[in-house]
C-alpha cells in the first residue's frame, strides 16, 4: 500500500499546491473536507488568483487544519478568531487575497460575533464554512448548526436547540455573495469559489459535508458515501439573487434532520467594501480639515 501511495503522490497534479509533508492528513475516512479542499485549489486556479497573493486563515477544528495543508501563506489561528485575524491581514495589505476556511462551530458559535461584523462592514474576505453539523475534532458534540432533534455526544436525547440557517444569516448581515453546496456538488463548489474569489466584498460559501464519525453514526445516516447519497436524493437547486427573485429566499434554507437541503446561490450583489468607503471618504475629509478656519491646533508650550 505504501508503495502505491508514494506513486500516487508523485503524480498527483495538485501536489505543488499542497504541503505534502503533512500527508496523509488527519481527516477521517468519508469526511468531506478533502473534496472541499480540492475544489478550493481548483477554484483559485480557475479564478486566476496569483499564488503568492493567496492567503488562507483558519480557526480551530477539523476544517481549521486546512490552512496548514495549503502551500500558500497560511495562518492557523485561535478558535473562532480567523475572521478577525483575516480582517487585519486584508486591511493592512489590500493586495492580498484572503480566504477564511473554517468550520461551523468555529465561525458561528465561538466566532459568530466576528462573522456578523465582518459581513456588516463588508471587509473583502472570502469565507468558506465547512458545515458538518457538529464539533468533529473534539468527538462529535452539538454545535450551532446541529439540526433540532439530532443526536450528538452532548445531546444524547436529541438536540433541543434551533440551528442557524447560515445562508440567511450571511445574507441579513450584508454579505455580497452567498451560496451553499454539499460535497456532492464538487464542480459547483469549485465554480462558486472561483466566482466568489473575484467578487468584491464579504463573500460566504457554506459547504455541507459528511462527518460519518461525529454526526453520521449517532444519527444513523451511515457512511460518508451514504450521506452523499442522501444529498443526491434530497437535492433542491435554487439560484439567483433572492432580493430580486422570490423563491430563492435564503430564509427558506433551514436544514432539518432528514429533510431536503436547499443548495445554490442566494445572494450576488454589489456594494462598497470597508476599504472602498475608507478611501473614498478620507481625502475629502482630510482636505476639509486642513482648510478649516477653526482647525484645532495642538496645545503647544
Amino acid at each position: 500500500m505504501s508503495v502505491e501511495f508514494e506513486e500516487l503522490r508523485d503524480i498527483h497534479p495538485r501536489d505543488n499546491l499542497l504541503r505534502t509533508d503533512l500527508f496523509p492528513h488527519i481527516w477521517c475516512p468519508g469526511c468531506g473536507l478533502g473534496i472541499a479542499l480540492h475544489a478550493f485549489l481548483e477554484g483559485m486556479e480557475k479564478a486566476g488568483i496569483p499564488r503568492e497573493k493567496r492567503t488562507v486563515v483558519s480557526g480551530i477544528g477539523c476544517s481549521g487544519r486546512t490552512a496548514g495543508l495549503l502551500k500558500v501563506d497560511s495562518y492557523h489561528t485561535t478558535h473562532g478568531r480567523p475572521i478577525a485575524f483575516a480582517t487585519g491581514l486584508k486591511l493592512a495589505n489590500p493586495d492580498l487575497h484572503v480566504t477564511v476556511f473554517s468550520g461551523d462551530g468555529d465561525l458561528f458559535a465561538i466566532g459568530g460575533n466576528h462573522f456578523i461584523h465582518a459581513a456588516r462592514r463588508n471587509v473583502d474576505l472570502k469565507v468558506i464554512c465547512i458545515n458538518n453539523f457538529n464539533y468533529g475534532m473534539t468527538g462529535g458534540q452539538m454545535g450551532p448548526t446541529t439540526p433540532a432533534k439530532a443526536k450528538t455526544t452532548t445531546t444524547p436525547y436529541g438536540n433541543f436547540e434551533h440551528p442557524f440557517n447560515l445562508p440567511w444569516l450571511a445574507a441579513t448581515c450584508g454579505a455580497t455573495y452567498v451560496a451553499r453546496w454539499t460535497t456532492l456538488d464538487a464542480r459547483q463548489i469549485r465554480d462558486s469559489i472561483a466566482e466568489a474569489a473575484v467578487k468584491k466584498g464579504f463573500t460566504f460559501i457554506e459547504i455541507v459535508s459528511p462527518c460519518p464519525v461525529g454526526y453520521g453514526r449517532p444519527n444513523r445516516i451511515g457512511s460518508g458515501l451514504d450521506e452523499m447519497k442522501f444529498y443526491e436524493e434530497n437535492w433542491e437547486l435554487r439560484s439567483g439573487n433572492w432580493i430580486i427573485q422570490e423563491g430563492a429566499n435564503p430564509r427558506e434554507a433551514d436544514i432539518d434532520l432528514g429533510k431536503a437541503i436547499v443548495v445554490g446561490k442566494f445572494v450576488d450583489i454589489d456594494k462598497p467594501t470597508f476599504l472602498d468607503m475608507y478611501r473614498e471618504q478620507m481625502p475629502q475629509f482630510l482636505a476639509e480639515k486642513e482648510n478649516a478656519k477653526d482647525r484645532k491646533e495642538e496645545v503647544r508650550e
Binding site: Y75, T78, L91, A92, N93
Partner: protein, 381 residues
C-alpha cells in the same frame, strides 16, 4: 496635513502621548474597542492614522482587536491596540497567539480598578500579574510601566522597538492617572527617535523556515504576499511550522519562546534609582505610584532615614538581579502599589534576609505619600 512625528513641545495627556509615540514608532494599524480610561488613544488614532496613510478600525470586541492587530502585523505593518482591564482580559487569548506565532504588536493597558467592571474611571495597578501570567501556557513577556505623559510617548516607542526586535506582543502597562494626566510632552526630531524593524528573511523562499531561529533565538519574519509561503501555526510546532504534538517539540518551542526573552532580560529591563547608593530602606515602585512616593523618600531623608527609590520602568522582565544586589546593603524593601499586593511578591521572592513591607493603596484614588512614609519610618527605625 500633519506627519507621523509632531516634533515640538506640547501640553498633552498621557493617552494622546501614547498614540503619538505609536505613530512616531511607525504604527500604521490600530484595531480597538472603546473602553475607559484608554478611549482617548483610540480616538487619537482614528483621527491621526488616516493622516499618515494608516488604517484605524473599531472592532466588535477586544478578542477581535487583538486578533486583527496580529493579522495586520503579518503583512509587516506595525500594529497596536489599547484597552483597560475588562478588555485586557479578553485580549489574553490572542496575546497567547501572538506569543506562539511570534507576531510583533503592542497593547497599551490603561489600568483602572477591578475585578470585573470595577472602577472604570479611576486609577488601578491590578493587572500587573495578569500581564505576566494572564494567557494560558508558559511564556515570558515584556511590559513597560510609564509614570508620565512623556513616558507614555517614550515607552510606547520602546515597546514597538522591543516587539519588532523580539517578535512578540509587548505591553505598556499604564494606569488611569498617567493616561489622563496632562503635562509637558517633548516630541523629538524624527531622526532622534531610534526605530527597530523586524529582521526579514535572509534566505530565498525555498530555504525559508517560518520558525527557524537565529543565534538570538528570534526567527526571521517573512510577511504575507511575498512568495515565502509562511506557515504560521498556533499548535505546538516545529521549525517549519508543522504541528508537532509531542513533549519534545513543546520543550524545544516553549523553551525557546521563554529563553529569547529571559536570555536578553538584562538588555530589555530598565529601572531608575534615586538615592539608593547608601540606602538601607529601598522603596520599589512603578507607574503613578513611583511619582507619588518619591516625596515620601525625600521626607524620610530629611528625618535622617537613609531611604532610596528603585523605580521599575519595565515591570517585566523584572530586574530581580538588581533587587538581589540591593538586598545586600538594605535592611528593608517597601513596596507601595495601587492594588492588594502584586509586584511585592516579586520583590519578596529575591529580597533574601531583607524585610519586605507591602504598602497597600486602594484602587480608585491617587496614592498619598504619607502611608509609604509611615512604612519607611517603621522599617527604618
Amino acid at each position: 496635513m500633519r506627519g507621523d512625528v509632531l516634533t515640538g513641545k506640547y501640553f498633552m495627556n498621557g493617552d494622546i502621548a501614547a498614540a503619538e509615540g505609536a505613530l512616531a514608532a511607525g504604527c500604521r494599524f490600530f484595531a480597538g474597542y472603546p473602553i475607559t480610561p484608554s478611549t482617548e488613544i483610540a480616538e487619537r488614532m482614528a483621527e491621526r492614522l488616516p493622516e499618515v496613510g494608516g488604517i484605524y478600525i473599531q472592532m466588535e470586541d477586544e478578542l477581535a482587536s487583538m486578533a486583527a492587530i496580529l493579522g495586520a502585523s503579518c503583512t509587516g505593518a506595525k500594529a497596536m491596540s489599547a484597552t483597560s482591564g475588562p478588555g485586557f482580559s479578553l485580549m489574553m487569548e490572542n496575546i497567547g497567539l501572538g506569543i506562539m506565532m511570534e507576531v510583533p504588536s503592542v497593547v497599551v493597558n490603561v489600568q483602572r480598578g477591578g475585578p470585573s467592571t470595577g472602577l472604570p474611571t479611576s486609577v488601578g495597578q491590578q493587572d500587573m500579574m495578569q500581564a505576566r501570567w494572564g494567557s494560558h501556557g508558559d511564556y515570558e513577556i515584556i511590559a513597560y510601566s510609564p509614570n508620565s505623559p512623556q513616558e507614555m510617548f517614550d515607552l510606547t516607542v520602546k515597546a514597538f522597538n522591543a516587539a519588532e526586535r523580539y517578535r512578540l506582543p509587548v505591553l505598556v502597562m499604564a494606569d488611569e492617572a498617567v493616561g489622563h494626566m496632562t503635562e509637558r510632552v517633548v516630541v523629538p526630531e524624527k531622526s532622534a527617535i531610534p526605530i527597530v524593524n523586524r529582521r526579514g528573511p535572509s534566505v530565498p523562499p525555498a530555504e525559508y523556515r517560518t520558525f527557524k531561529a537565529g543565534e538570538d533565538l528570534v526567527p526571521e519574519f517573512a510577511v504575507a504576499g511575498q512568495g515565502y509561503f509562511v506557515r504560521m501555526e498556533s499548535l505546538t510546532h516545529d521549525e517549519l511550522g508543522r504541528p508537532a504534538l509531542t513533549a519534545e517539540a513543546e520543550q524545544v518551542l516553549v523553551g525557546r519562546l521563554r529563553d529569547k526573552i529571559a536570555t536578553h532580560a538584562h538588555e530589555i529591563a530598565e529601572y531608575e534609582e534615586f538615592l539608593t547608593e547608601d540606602a538601607d530602606v529601598i522603596v520599589v515602585a512603578y507607574g503613578i505610584t513611583s511619582r507619588c512616593v518619591r516625596q515620601a523618600v525625600e521626607e524620610a531623608r530629611q528625618e535622617g532615614i537613609r531611604a532610596g527609590l528603585l523605580r521599575l520602568v519595565t515591570a517585566w522582565p523584572f530586574p530581580s538581579w538588581r533587587i538581589e544586589e540591593l538586598a545586600v546593603q538594605a535592611k528593608a524593601f517597601v513596596v507601595p502599589e495601587v492594588n492588594f499586593g502584586q509586584m511585592v511578591r516579586e520583590v519578596q521572592r529575591v529580597a533574601g534576609p531583607a524585610k519586605t513591607t507591602f504598602v497597600q493603596y486602594p484602587p480608585g484614588a491617587m496614592p498619598h505619600p504619607d502611608r509609604t512614609l509611615k512604612a519607611i519610618r517603621e522599617v527604618g527605625k
